[in-house]
Point group: D3
Chain length 258, copies 6
């Protein structure tokens, strides 16, 4: 099985870290491809960044379909950017890391707290919790006021601040599970788990295993309704490369496959 993990920002040090994390939890026989897009923002900390990360992400999905024979995809940013568009485009399942982390967290405790980077992203985390039906399990979303890329800097105080915020979450929120609210925290999961007395869910690991699960069970995205393959039409300007062909190999592959 081949799973493509797309870090929708263009910071490859983070992408490498994410890839390592995914490989460490993948089953034997699962190949992980971890990439950043060819265009877009260096980090995703606003709706603006998120919107502009999506074209590059969709390019990687299209490439995964066309050239790489991917069986499933993971979107490795806690805002789950472009998830529905990616599902329209891909034959196999697509899982977001916020989605995966929240779902698994709901199965191992009564309520979770999300600990994320900047407070301006709190709204998006709540929005996703609602969209996934996970709001009832989400006790709080808390920010450490860490810019995403500070997680990449050796010697930063990021790890300490995250652990501190997790402790406050447990003390103040009445939660019994922690969800890490940024793909850049994937490598900290083991350390934070050791410091706390509760399960800590990293979305990259969670999504990798869920993507595997869906693909293994042949549970691909339904093409019957809202998530059917997009209709072919003209795309213009800098985005003209996104035109989907009518008689594309894509469509015929799809028939063969299902």
């Amino acid at each position: 099985m081949r799973i493509k993990i797309i870090n929708p920002n263009t910071t490859w040090s983070m992408t490498d870290k994410i890839g390592q994390c995914a490989r460490s939890v993948a089953s034997a026989g699962t190949e992980i491809i971890a990439v950043s897009p060819a265009m877009g923002p260096a980090s995703i900390e606003s709706h603006y960044d998120e919107a502009l990360a999506v074209p590059g992400l969709l390019q990687e999905i299209a490439k995964g379909e066309r050239e790489e024979g991917c069986d499933a995809y993971v979107i490795a940013c806690f805002g789950d950017p472009g998830l529905k568009a990616a599902r329209e485009l891909a034959r196999g399942p697509v899982v977001g890391i916020a989605e995966a982390a929240m779902h698994l967290a709901s199965m191992i405790g009564s309520r979770f707290s999300v600990v994320t980077t900047l407070s301006r992203t709190i709204g998006q985390a709540w929005h996703l919790a609602e969209a996934y039906g996970m709001q009832r399990f989400c006790a709080n979303v808390r920010a450490c006021e860490l810019p995403v890329l500070e997680l990449e800097e050796p010697g930063s105080k990021a790890r300490e601040r995250i652990v501190d915020e997790c402790r406050r979450a447990l003390d103040e929120d009445g939660s019994d599970v922690i969800v890490l609210g940024c793909a850049g925290m994937a490598d900290l999961c083991a350390h934070i788990t050791q410091q706390l007395s509760v399960p800590v869910v990293d979305g990259v690991a969670a999504a990798t295993r869920l993507a595997e699960t869906l693909a293994a069970l042949r549970l691909n995205t339904s093409k019957r309704g809202e998530l059917a393959t997009p209709l072919p039409k003209a795309y213009t300007g800098a985005l003209s490369g996104f035109t989907l062909g009518d008689n594309s190999g894509h469509a015929s592959h799809q028939e063969t496959r299902r």
Copy 2:
């Protein structure tokens, strides 16, 4: 007052129609600029189309801020693509047409039905109804199975099919207001109103007046939290033009203005 109406698809015949509609309802002294982006899809009928309409839309917002002195913006596609990102970018208010239509509809009846184009967009209309708090007023979202661009074809049966679906909505949904679910229906509003015994809300007209209202009351988007101006950072590849400068005229304008 200058209001910029952005039709996020690249079909200028629709853009012109939208502009006319907006001008016909704007107050004296309000100037309407109606544009399509320089890049993106010819019509928006999927999450894929919607995601790829946003970069061009944001370009137009940035241009409106930098060069055109716009006081407010309208996003003229019933999926309200890029609304939060646009709010981060703009100093003045930004209104989506689905948002505007649903809000006004909630004030003049007990429940509304949305009549839209393709059934694959029904999910997005419900998603927006929930996000705006309007789900409780939304009796149903119904599709005519009309592709968006068929609304642009002279002699098509679009008008009849829409009126028929509106009639079914009133008979079957227990609704007392109709919301037109596509910017391309803006010119049909008067005709449909004549055929039915209930108010019919066109989002382009609704959003134009709401944008005017917000701007007149100096109710600009709050820059305190989630919708603050995006942080400056590197953008790469085909999207490198989207980099926001640190000491941009934008930021200094903002201070001057508020």
Copy 3:
């Protein structure tokens, strides 16, 4: 266009203030009539007061329909008393100030705090937020423990206490917009806006512009279902004047108009 603003309490100093505020934001060519009813309570601070403000309010709506040729109405009390009954009675649109303020606030930020007078009215504000679908945007409703009429007393500390409570709201509630929770605060909006770094929404201004917008777009209350004109029937005792005639000028006007 003629808009009638009804302050449902009988304190005319507040009514005059409300009228001035409405005139200051109305479009050129809009005439504002601001009145208090001929009967009812001097201020509205309980469900009891609110219930007893409605007959006088409805009398003013009926007069507006029968004699004054009003195109739209505003109910200028933050409890929005009698809104649905008024909508049944009027041909043109009717807007409540809580309704208007909350709707506009939802379009310019992520969450708002309401700052109101007495804490016993907090429940009603939450009730309205839910009824309008605005609960999801309402971070908190806070009281200054100011009786309504203290807002009318020159030299009172009302202004300072309201500004203080607004500051606490921003610090403690995670909100980015303030909604003023009493018509009697309409004249303070500019001052409070200056003191804070966020948009402040006054319901009188908001409702005046929304009523104008609905009337300009000919979006009158739907008479198809719940809000149809009340059936004629006997009214007895002190309320016998509220009997609606079967062949009233009202009904025939309605036909002519629509």
Copy 4:
């Protein structure tokens, strides 16, 4: 114990019927007073009617407090008009018949259908279901298109139409309990129960027993917050009689009692 049942419309034939029903279910030792107000509408079929029924209703509550020594009150109209205002005014508990019927129905089945008079009142029934938390148990609200006063006419087809609608409710709604949606149906409850194989809840009987229960357990309305006694203030015009005195016997009674 003395319970006052107030039929908020002025049709005494209905009031007498309601009184008989209440007496037939009250415990030994409970005295029932059943009245109509001295002013207001002959029947309640709109928000307008409902709003104008409240002053007369509150007059009867005040009289019950001042002169009649009532221990509890029932508001016998399925719109539960003036319930919160009445609770502010009364020392003992106040129960609405929609409230009572829905609560009891939720304890004896999985979902109930409400069968009411005119379809224009359906919205209010749903509104109450939500306000009481009973929406999740309410499968449907159905109208027989019977005007309220037709229930008072000997020889009308009302009974048959109601039974027919109840049958349709059970067949189509997936409900297992029927709630009668009008005080005027109280005398039909036994007959309808015989015709159907499910429990049928009449609000008058339900509210009478619940009012008794609350009074017996000394569970009076909390005067701590939203439902505290209204503040004394001036009332003018035709409603000047509603002024509450500062040192009224009411207030002193209250102290003695609690």
Copy 5:
């Protein structure tokens, strides 16, 4: 009328206290049987305890149906264990004490706080509040960190700690009614009411009167759908005694009765 109160734990000192409380509020002519099951846990403080209390509880319901001619049942544990199963089994109504207390509390105030024993039971109280539609009235659920059986120990500090927690609830939660969150607190209700200025609802008293009310109005559990008598089938092992016969006296009684 004969009402059976089942304390689902096996601590008979608590059962006796519960029985006394029920008798003190029951109407003249109502006989109270108060029992503990023959098997199960000494107290209920976890989902494990609760699940294992249900078989003994159902045995008592079956005995009440078969031998004791009971008209109604009360389940006297604040987790309302086995409520739906008991409703399937019994002909007459079955009421849980959390259910009863929350429903009555919602009728006498705007919001209530539940004060319970151990914090690990808070989740179940919220779960029930949601299931009964009472979540909107529930301001908070607070634990005193008292094990259930400490309420049975003479000289314990339980009473003081409960009163203290109730005071905090009123100060911090914005509630105006207290709900006692354990059947073992039934005898403290009068004392706590004296200490506080708000109504205090004990579920045992509330459920006893509600069970009486339902039985008096002949509102038995609907047997049409989800709560129909269980289908007869084989039960094996230690639970083989729970087999329901096909031609049981139970079934024939049921027909006679309805």
Copy 6:
């Protein structure tokens, strides 16, 4: 890894089928133990059956902890009986099949329909959908009116009736994914998938892979709050074997392990 699948009814032919299904989807290296309890009902079709299936189920969990070294558990009945109690008792994760199926279904489509056995179980399926946050994805729950054990009878028409109901679901519910609503349908999943054009989710397969995923990621149930190990206490009568010891090997294992 060792996963114990507990079919909570005592019909071993179904248990064997469930075990085969689980083995067919488990990863290499995962051992599946599939069992039925030593006591309880032959099938689960009511709340009564469900309640009485739990003691035997908990016995199997306890045995899995004490003797079998199980890493994770699956509860293989679509009512997910005893899930929270099992989570309190087990060190490793516990997954219900309704829970697992609904969660995975929400990731591969916009809305799912559940197709189950008897209509009297529909309420429980909706209850679980709500409890898991999956209600928003659940378009409908439909029954085939098949008793559970008919699924075990060779030559029954069960398969045809289920496929027919699935077809109706897709046509009438607007859903794009099917969830099989009974563990006894596990062996039909491949066949039904072939007949329909949408993904079909079997809960046994889904839960097996999710249990594996949680165990692989060391995401055990949080023992901090609601789901902590039950407090030791006396159990009496036929259930005295359920007493948990204070210094049990269980507790010490737990410390060693975490």
